[in-house]
């Protein structure tokens, strides 16, 4: 009786999120026990955000697209392109920080709108379109500027070096000096976006429609949802988030570089999946996704702390991803995911053309 109740009240999205959260807590708990000197510092935890805010933001964008049943593999390249464009713009002598922000958002949004249009309205495979977008962004990036470009504009450097100091959360280092906790602006951007997008996906009509579209786009159409517009919006939003991520990236590193954010799309996909988003769509949680990304990052930190060859990072990440996917399908299967199949038995297949007679 008890199990039935639980089965009914917790949604798949929340269940997978809970699993992700538990695993992250276990992982971080293990890290603290094993390497207390490094992981007990607040700075270590906040550095996960300080240094990886762009990736976390991209994870949010990808989760949104994946909940809608799509995929966007252009985000890493677009982020890289944005950093380079901002760097060139800021170094041009006529640039301003505000202008570069707008530029970043504009580039991201442009990619999102274009890809979203092609995918939603012309019904082309999202994988192909965003692959093309990725190539395009990569090509533009190297065309604009090949070499690393350090931004030296004073106003920007101030922003780059700014960090909020939280004195009451600091740590004492080995020499006995007290070092206060530093939080970078990117962390705030990421936190704000997590909160805003979680609200959007849970309480807005767009968010709920997107879950429906990802769950079953045919049914959604029949239920009166504008499937195309919903899909289109999800890609536009994801593109916009790539722009934000790009700006946060250059705000953290202070340089445009050909290799910026390369491979982030795959990390973001992995983070989303570990965070409980299903590639098949319709299931996911916008708080879970950053947790998934943090899980991956914690593994990397752990391996670094252990002093093992960094190749192991990739291996362990790969294995973990695999375990997660198996776990997810296991959970879904155990919950009687048979309900995800077509609702009617096969012998009642659609009566129109092409249906089977009995």
């Amino acid at each position: 009786m008890n199990t039935i109740k639980r089965k009914e009240t917790i949604s798949n999205s929340n269940l997978l999120f809970a699993i992700a959260a538990v695993i992250f807590a276990l992982m971080y708990g293990f890290a603290v026990l094993r390497y207390p000197r490094s992981f007990l510092q607040y700075q270590t935890f906040f550095d996960l955000f300080n240094l990886n805010a762009p990736l976390i933001i991209l994870t949010l964008g990808l989760s949104i697209v994946m909940i809608g049943g799509g995929i966007d593999i252009s985000v890493g390249a677009v982020t890289g392109l944005v950093t380079m464009c901002c760097a060139v713009f800021l170094e041009s002598g006529r640039g301003s920080v505000g202008g570069s922000m707008l530029l970043a958002l504009g580039i991201g949004l442009a990619f999102g709108l274009l890809q979203g249009f092609l995918i939603a309205y012309l019904e082309i495979q999202p994988f192909i379109i965003t692959l093309a977008g990725m190539f395009l962004a990569n090509g533009l990036l190297t065309t604009i500027h090949k070499d690393p470009l350090n931004v030296t504009m004073a106003e920007f450097v101030r922003l780059r070096d700014y960090s909020m100091v939280v004195p009451w959360l600091g740590t004492t280092n080995r020499l006995g000096n007290f070092i206060p906790l530093e939080v970078k602006p990117g962390t705030f951007v990421a936190a704000l976006l997590i909160a805003a997008l979680a609200v959007l996906m849970h309480w807005s009509r767009f968010g709920r429609n997107l879950y429906a579209v990802g769950g079953n786009s045919q049914s959604s159409l029949m239920l009166g949802i504008n499937v195309r517009r919903t899909k289109f919006s999800s890609y536009a939003l994801c593109g916009l988030l790539s722009g934000v991520a790009g700006f946060v990236f250059i705000m953290t590193t202070g340089a445009g570089n050909v290799g910026n954010a390369s491979g982030f799309e795959m990390k973001a996909i992995a983070g989303s999946i570990i965070g409980g988003t299903m590639l098949s769509g319709g299931v996911g949680n916008l708080i879970g996704s950053p947790v998934g990304a943090l899980t991956l990052l914690t593994i990397n930190e752990l391996i670094r702390a252990a002093g093992v060859n960094s190749n192991f990072q990739a291996i362990v990440s790969g294995l973990l991803l695999c375990v997660f996917i198996v776990l997810q399908s296991l959970v879904m299967w155990l919950r009687g995911a048979g309900g995800f199949k077509l609702a009617l038995p096969a012998w009642l297949a659609p009566g129109g053309k092409g249906g089977r007679a009995g």
Partner: protein, 516 residues
């Protein structure tokens, strides 16, 4: 509520009460690539009536409904709603105008909660009022007696409950036209009662209801009028009270026109060797066919007949294990056997020509030759391929024997006509020299000449000692070839007919539920 009536004074000055047509469709045509789904179909729906839309599979009912609701764009024709010409471009359009639809394949989202499914796609505001939504849903579920909770995930509800939720959603939209496409297929008797009383209630409020079902008894229980479609064409609309069930069935099935007097069916052969070639007891499958007994003798031709959804295809699929077998015993030549998957059936000498030629039969990109040797190759094993020469000689032999019209043995099968494709699939099975051949709709969609050829071939095979089960939606065809007819209804066998003087009427009688 919205009951309106028009009083018409006829020429003689008499006063007549007429309910207005809430929906009128005239001359609707709709084609898909290669298929003419609807041709010049008309349909009228009055407010406050239940109008049954009847027809066999492929008759175009679902297509007509999808044209009604804006899922498909019609090629030509007019639709008027309450006297105004309307053109629904999308389901949203139709929904906004008061057309509520419950589709055959339940169109809800399994990953959302019951409450969300009730309200999604209907909101006007940018944000969702979860609390209000849950409360309204709870009230609605309560008033309709649906055993579900608003916060429950839809996937955890039974099919019947999902169906009721879809209906509740349509009702809650306060629609003027309610379309129910096979709403009762997953409901039990009690739930059907509940649905019907709900339909009567809506009727009295002036809602026009389109009701599609394959259950004839239900049609007569609830419907006021009946429109019959066949092969995408409009056959007629009738008052339910003036159209006997038998006539309805014959209108739905139509008559075959081909002249095939030269075909002479065989008698049921004597039992040879003490046991039938194939025997099943209590066989059932995951596709929903009820446990049935079945046997076929050496050289016998028999057939399963019945309406769509009666389980005729499912029965033979269970024999061949094309669907997952869930129970029953099988004997081949009197010895117990187990068929868990098609390859085991093949090894026992059973061949199966599937109903869906395009989907399950041909491998479109492969050549005629490769399509012919496929079954034999599977039985031999893929690691022992036939040489080109062997394959070539097999292909040549059967192309000649079955008179297959193809440019060469290497022509891709997709470029052949339907009838010739079917012959290639037949050749595929004949090459394995089966003892028992199951042919599911071998004559569908092919020209009359080839139909006759295939029927003759069936009888010739039987003469050579092959047992054949033959299924066709054209009853006349089956009467000509089968010495024994097994009649199915609602996924169970309801009768068995044999004898020289069998007529179509006898068969229809059993199907229509007249029994013996």
């Amino acid at each position: 509520m919205r009951r309106t009536a028009i009083i018409v004074y006829t020429a003689s000055g008499e006063k007549q009460l007429q309910t207005p047509n809430v929906l009128e469709m005239r001359g609707i045509c709709k084609s898909f690539p290669g298929v003419r789904a609807l041709h010049d179909v008309s349909f009228t729906l009055r407010s406050g009536e239940v109008h049954a839309l009847m027809g066999e599979n492929g008759a175009g009912k679902s297509t007509l409904i999808k044209v009604m609701t804006g899922v498909y764009e019609k090629d030509s024709g007019q639709i008027t709603v309450e006297g105004k010409a309307m053109h629904f471009r999308s389901p949203q359009d139709a929904q906004a105008f008061g057309v509520g639809t419950v589709y055959q394949e339940i169109s809800l989202c399994h990953n959302l909660t019951v409450a969300e499914n009730m309200f999604i796609g209907r909101g006007r505001y940018a944000f969702v009022d979860w609390k209000g939504m849950r409360e309204k849903t709870a009230r609605l579920l309560d008033s309709l007696g649906i055993p579900a909770r608003p916060t429950q995930q839809l996937s955890s509800c039974s099919l019947a409950v999902q169906q009721m939720i879809a209906i509740a959603r349509a009702i809650d939209m306060d629609c003027r036209i309610l379309i129910l496409d096979e709403p009762t297929s997953s409901l039990d008797e009690d739930e059907v009662r509940k649905l019907f009383s709900l339909m009567r209630e809506l009727k009295s409020r002036g809602v026009g209801i389109v009701f599609v079902t394959h259950f004839l008894d239900q049609v007569y229980e609830i419907s006021d009028r009946i429109t019959v479609l066949r092969n995408g064409e409009f056959i007629g609309d009738y008052d339910a009270s003036s159209l006997p069930q038998l006539e309805l069935v014959s209108k739905m099935m139509g008559k075959a026109l081909d002249d095939v007097s030269q075909i002479k069916k065989r008698e049921v052969p004597a039992l040879e060797g003490g046991a039938p070639v194939f025997e099943a007891q209590g066989l059932s499958s995951a596709a929903g066919v009820r446990p049935f007994d079945f046997a076929i003798r050496k050289g016998e031709v028999n057939g399963f007949t019945g309406l769509l959804g009666s389980g005729r295809s499912e029965s033979v699929r269970a024999i061949y294990a094309a669907d997952k077998v869930t129970g029953g015993e099988i004997k081949v030549h009197g010895r117990k056997a187990r068929i868990g998957e098609p390859i085991q059936a093949m090894k026992l000498g059973i061949g199966y020509l599937p109903e869906d030629r395009k989907g399950d039969g041909i491998i479109a990109e492969l050549s005629v030759r490769d399509n012919i040797i496929l079954a034999l190759q599977v039985m031999k094993g893929f690691f022992k391929p036939f040489s080109r020469k062997e394959a070539e000689s097999f292909a040549d032999e059967y192309i000649e024997r079955l008179n297959i019209k193809t440019a060469s043995t290497s022509t891709p099968i997709k470029s052949l006509s339907g009838g010739n494709q079917q012959k290639v699939i037949l050749a595929r099975w004949l090459l394995t020299h089966p003892e028992y051949l199951i042919l599911d709709e071998p004559t569908r969609g092919i020209d009359v000449g080839t139909k006759v050829e295939i029927q003759k071939l069936v009888l010739k095979l039987a003469e050579e000692g092959v047992s054949v089960t033959f299924i066709s939606s054209e009853i006349e065809e089956m009467l000509r070839t089968c010495s024994r007819l097994i009649v199915m209804k609602d996924r169970a066998i309801v009768g068995e007919l044999s004898g020289e003087s069998l007529t179509e009427r006898d068969v229809l009688h059993v199907i229509a539920g007249g029994g013996e």
